[in-house]
Amino acid sequence: MKNILGRKVGMTSVFTEDGRYVPVTVIEAGPCTVVERRTKEKHGYDAVALGFGAIKKARVTRALAGHFKKANVEAVRYVREFRNDIDGVEAGQTVTVASFEPGDRVDVVGVSKGHGFAGGIKRHNFSGGGASHGSMIHRQPASNGDTNAGRTVKGSRRPGHYGVDRTTMQNLEVIRADAERNLLLVRGPIPGPKNALVVVRKSVKPVKVKAGA
């Protein structure tokens, strides 16, 4: 099963075996326990609930404690469900990065960094006005749209709260899976600040393989 929960450690660059020097994000992933196996008959859909991260016993709610007891696993901080690539996974099992291999494609889900109340330039890539020659419009959103409409169209892009959104990076290449240290290295950036929870799933879109790669 190529699904796992982890913690974003940060970014660096590594040499691959074929000599490429690639930017990677390091994820401390697993070991996760399978907290529950949801079935079509009982719950209406098939899924696997994975648990990750240590937690103080006093912080576990009684409801969750019951789930952990049923699966006979340690209490964990995060529980997330996965619905793809879950054949043969049963409650009580342990999931590690050992099931990943270099070259696998994964999607990584996280909560993006918060930017607070951000203007149009940062939030929507507006181009902004001229800096000099008396332009007087620097970082303002400027026009609100067509004057003929006589109103502002709903859903137009304005300044506002930016970040802290659930964000998915699709089709990332696994560069290395280190089962001894529970590390997963994926190519490129992933959403969220360091130490944040990230969900790694088997990629849902067809893999595009470059010729000769």
Binding site: G10, F15, V26, L183
Partner: protein
Amino acid sequence: MNVIDVLNKEQLKDTVPDFRPGDTVKVYSKVVEGGKERIQMFEGVVTVRKGGGAHESITVRRVAHGVGVEKAFLLNSPRVDRIEVSKRGIVRRSRLYYLSDKIGKAARIKEKKATKA
């Protein structure tokens, strides 16, 4: 030490010799040609040495068939097989960008004589 520092450290080679800009080096790099791997040598003057840790790189300059050629190598890359120092030069800059404007006699670098030990 955090995980990223450990990962970076693991990539460092312990075989990189001691050299600086101005020195002449031979870089033996692995190239794949027609599905086969062979080792190619490139000799020239080190004009730039920059970056730290696993990312450290050098630029090597030579004049081949009357044309100046500069090649950049990542020192810790597995594609760089080995580096040999053939001459030590005396220079007063850490980045020898001025060499690319000079040709022939003007592009010479004073050679450091081995000190008597």
